[in-house]
């Protein structure tokens, strides 16, 4: 069997100061690497020139240069596909220097144990601006966790787990040779972990594939606050976000074994330092990790700084009285925060209990005839007739106030043809529905509707239980119909206020006639308005005290002359619910028996209602006419009668229905 191939990838980001040393490290290996890749992340200092000089000297070196600073993860994503070797060393110029014997000593164990996922060596650190290295295992307090002297050449996954229970495994990600297959098997470097992604990958690979150990120092790790990882950890928010991302990853099913390993070997969290405790504490679902880590951390802290109570107190008291006061204040603040959190938690528990209680009560209601499900379908554009059908549908529903009516609106066919704004506005002003759903997906609608229990089930002949809003429906306007209309159009305070203010300012002392004309598919009434305008003009010449307010949409006033005889209220900021309120409040109504017409008739407005779906009839006493297809002249002739009766005979129009309930009563 031939020797395994290995690639070294060096990452550089404005490290002019260290890059030459790092290049010497990777090029000066006593066992040369088969592939050398250097990637520069848009450096603006002289490091690029240094790398280019090195690349010119070493033919095996591939130099990649990012046009701008893309970050470590993007650079990794760019460089890794170029690696063809079986083993990989990922290092960076700001952090590490490979000693000449690195590959010579690290590769033979891997060749002897091809099942191993990685090989790591003892960790030595070079403090900032110093050249001599310090072995971590010789450092007081942390040495016992990092000692690799007693480790065998190959540690199986089980051995790794056993060791980690006892002490922290000092895998420095920049001092590691990774098996490429193992890296691919775990899905590569998770980008959300930023500077910790390589450490995390090492832990995962070691746990799943085992690791080879070289007890000698093969790599020098530099401590420098300008390094990428140190910069990240120096930013508390970024550091906390990264830890939260790690916890999110550990919550995923594919990392279940690693979560277990972190739980059993909480020392794995120690590179994240104290912020890890803070983040874990605030995520209740991660308390299974928090508790072991807090115990581990306390034990380590105690080992590091044995507690000498009397001496410590005396010293603090004498030297740091101010600090003690500040500390106490911080302690009290922290306690206050904890108490607030606890209160929050108590409230959460209370809310949970309330939620369960509500669910049970609702379930009981549904079981005992309090809830009724009705389904409306829309298949095409929401025209004036569809909007009217929405009101007509509510009129035929039972008026039993004890029933909760749950409306379900199914959008079928091409959902891009269905503009819901007017239906939503009507649903908002409706007091019929306790709640409603909108389904854009037939499959979801069928499934969800099948599992909603409701009794009594509507009888099969109850056509309102499944209502096609796109079909024309006649409107029954008996006593029940009028009551249904009052339920379908709740009095909205906002709309009423808008209408009142408008009429007082725009049409004081006028006889106000609400006008609703046929609309096109997009809801604009410009075409019909063009036909009506000359007739309205003539009418106003004879009866100047009448003011017409058009309730439909029209195109902007910049594009044509403002119609002098009509106030297009929708162009003046009226929404659909405001226009409904105007239909209810006007002195008379003329136009289609659409949603506005129904609102007007529900409010007992006199006038002319055009309804092609039902027969012609008149109620002269109430000054109401229903006509199938009248001309504008006919309509205005009848309106003249209304005006004469209501205005010239001294009988003012009846007052608007009193506002009895707020919409909150819905």
């Amino acid at each position: 069997m031939g020797a395994a191939t290995v690639a070294i990838v060096l990452f550089n980001d404005n490290q002019e100061r260290y890059v030459r040393e790092a290049l010497d490290g990777i090029c000066g290996q006593t066992r040369p690497a088969d592939q050398l890749i250097v990637i520069d992340d848009g450096s603006t200092d002289d490091s690029v020139a240094i790398i280019e000089e090195a690349a010119a000297r070493h033919a095996r070196m591939t130099f990649l240069r990012n046009g701008r600073n893309l970050g470590l993860q993007e650079s990794m994503a760019r460089a890794l596909p170029l690696v063809t070797a079986e083993y990989l060393v990922w290092t960076s110029s700001d952090h590490c220097v490979l000693l000449p014997g690195f590959l010579e000593k690290a590769m033979p164990p891997l060749e002897r144990h091809p099942e191993a996922g990685l090989c790591f060596s003892a960790l030595s650190v070079v403090p900032r601006d110093r050249r001599e290295a310090v072995r971590v295992e010789g450092t007081p307090w942390v040495g016992h966790t990092s000692d690799s002297g007693d480790l065998p050449e190959y540690m199986t996954p089980a051995a790794i787990r056993r060791r980690m229970k006892r002490a922290y495994l000092p895998i420095a990600s920049n001092a590691v040779v990774l098996r490429r297959e193992a890296l691919d098997a775990i899905g590569g470097y998770p980008p959300e972990l930023e500077w910790q992604s390589d450490s995390f990958v090492c832990i995962v690979i070691a746990h799943r594939f085992g690791a080879c150990v070289v007890p000698d120092t093969l790599v020098l790790r530099r401590v420098d606050p300008g390094a990428y990882s140190d910069r990240g950890m120096a930013d508390p928010a970024r550091h906390a976000a990264m830890i939260a991302s790690l916890l999110d990853l550990l919550a995923q099913p594919r990392y279940r074994d690693i979560r277990r390993a972190f739980r059993r070997s909480p020392g794995n969290f120690s590179p994240f330092r104290t912020p890890a405790l803070n983040v874990q504490f605030h995520r209740v679902r991660d308390w299974d990790l928090f508790l072991p880590y807090v115990i581990w951390d306390s034990r380590e802290y105690n080992r590091e700084q044995p507690l000498r109570v009397a001496a410590t107190v005396a010293e603090l008291g004498l030297r740091w009285r101010r600090s003690i006061r500040a500390g106490l204040r911080r302690l009290l603040l922290a306690l206050g925060r904890r108490v607030r959190e606890a209160l929050h938690s108590v409230r959460s528990v209370r809310r949970t209990m309330r939620l369960i209680a509500y669910a049970l009560v609702k379930y009981r209601w549904q079981r005992y005839a309090r809830s009724l499900n009705v389904v409306g379908t829309v298949r095409g554009p929401v025209t004036q007739d569809v909007v009217r059908s929405m009101v007509a549908w509510q009129l035929v529903m039972p008026l039993d106030g004890r029933l909760d009516i749950q409306g379900h609106l199914c959008i079928e066919g091409d959902t891009d043809q269905v503009q819901l704004d007017r239906l939503l506005s009507l649903l908002c002003v409706s007091g019929t529905f306790a709640g409603f759903d909108i389904f854009f997906d037939r499959e979801v609608a069928v499934r969800e509707l099948a599992r909603i229990p409701a009794t009594p089930e509507p009888r099969p002949e109850s056509h309102w239980a499944r209502f096609d809003l796109c079909k024309p429906h006649a409107v029954a306007l008996g006593t029940e119909g009028t009551a249904g209309l009052q339920r379908a159009f709740l009095p909205l305070f906002d709309g009423r206020r808008t209408v009142t203010s408008f009429l007082k300012v725009a049409h004081p002392r006028a006889f106000v006639v609400a006008l609703s004309l046929p609309e096109d598919d997009d809801g604009f009434a410009d075409e019909a308005l063009g036909k009506w305008l000359p007739h309205l003009h003539r009418f106003r010449q004879n009866v100047p005290r009448v003011a017409f307010c058009l309730l439909n949409r029209t195109m902007p006033s910049q594009d044509r002359d403002e119609p002098a005889d009509v106030s297009p209220v929708r162009s003046l900021g009226f929404g659909l619910s405001d226009a409904v309120a105007l239909a209810q409040a006007a002195d008379a109504f003329v136009g289609r028996l659409d949603a506005f017409g129904l609102a007007a008739i529900g409010a007992h407005r006199p006038g002319v209602y055009i309804d092609p779906t039902s027969g012609e009839r008149a109620d002269a006493g109430r000054l109401v006419w229903f006509l199938a297809d009248p001309s504008p002249e006919q309509c205005l002739e009848l309106l003249r009668v209304v005006v004469r009766e209501r205005l010239h005979n001294g009988r003012r129009s009846p007052t608007s229905p009193p506002v009895t309930n707020g919409p909150g009563a819905a």
Partner: protein
Amino acid sequence: MKRVANAVLDLASLIRGASRGQFVGVIDFSYQHYALGDLLTSQVNLACLAVEHGCRGLDLYVIVDPAAPAARAQPFITPDNYLTHLDNVFPALLVSPLLRSIRLIRDPLTAGLSLLSLIASRVPMWPPVFDHLRRRMTYPLDHRIINRFHRAHGYVPTLGAPRGYAGWARRFIQQHYAGRFLVCINPRQSRLTHTPAVTHRDAPLAEWYEFLRVVGRRYPDVHFFMLGGFAEWEHTLLTLDNVSIPRTMGLTLAHELALLVASSLFMGTSSGFATMATFSGVPYVITYIEPLFAKYAGVEPNAARYPFAGANQYLVWRREDARLLLRYFQRIYHEPGAAPGEGPSPMRIAPARP
């Protein structure tokens, strides 16, 4: 006994009946805000999380308790007027390409049963259950989830025109504004509304008028749509021939969002419409962003663009003036790829433009 057992089993099956394949967004207005920008950011958060969970559809549970319809931060929304506010913002819930259903729940009992069903069925939801129970939502909504998604996948889900309005916008533009370079504008004017808030973020209108007049003189093919509530503009705009105001046609927020997606450019102060532009792939210039927002957006103050933004999507951190607006307008107008508004692209989840 048997009846009780049956009832318990029945309840259990009902509670555990929620579909595992769904992703649920809970918009509970008792602690979330009736605010366009927040709702749109929520939609993008939901889309990111749904994609990450491998869910194909998004179901929105909109919970409004008529007795307590709004968060403490919006005391002007009361049981007597919440329906108006709900009606106003509802179209913002229709912009997600993954949307499958919306449920408006107006009584706490139904909300309780629905949420319990979701929790028991372990359906993934946002906000997470514990955050929801604690009524915890930090405002302004940050871009943490979105940036994380972008780092992992290289794109962010884009928002489309509200469901049902893409075709309308296409027809409307072809009918009335064919061949025009359409620019949607939204100079924030909270001081003109019923409930003024944070008025120091309002735009200098005089500078905008100057900008609109200059563009009107030099670029006759350019037409502007002024977006925003009916109260949020001055009558001066009605005198400008190159400006149309959708609200004066009786159109609603749904139509405005569809026009924004279909337009060639958005220019405006940092606000809800700016959020729509941010996540819809339209070229944009967003002005006067508060430096405080930088940390929530995950960018440095004075950053030229968001991490997921395209080349012609600009952030401006200082208060705009006519020259600045004109400079950015010209930069985008003269770009080779700049084209007249021809209607929105179909709704999709797609990579942001490089």
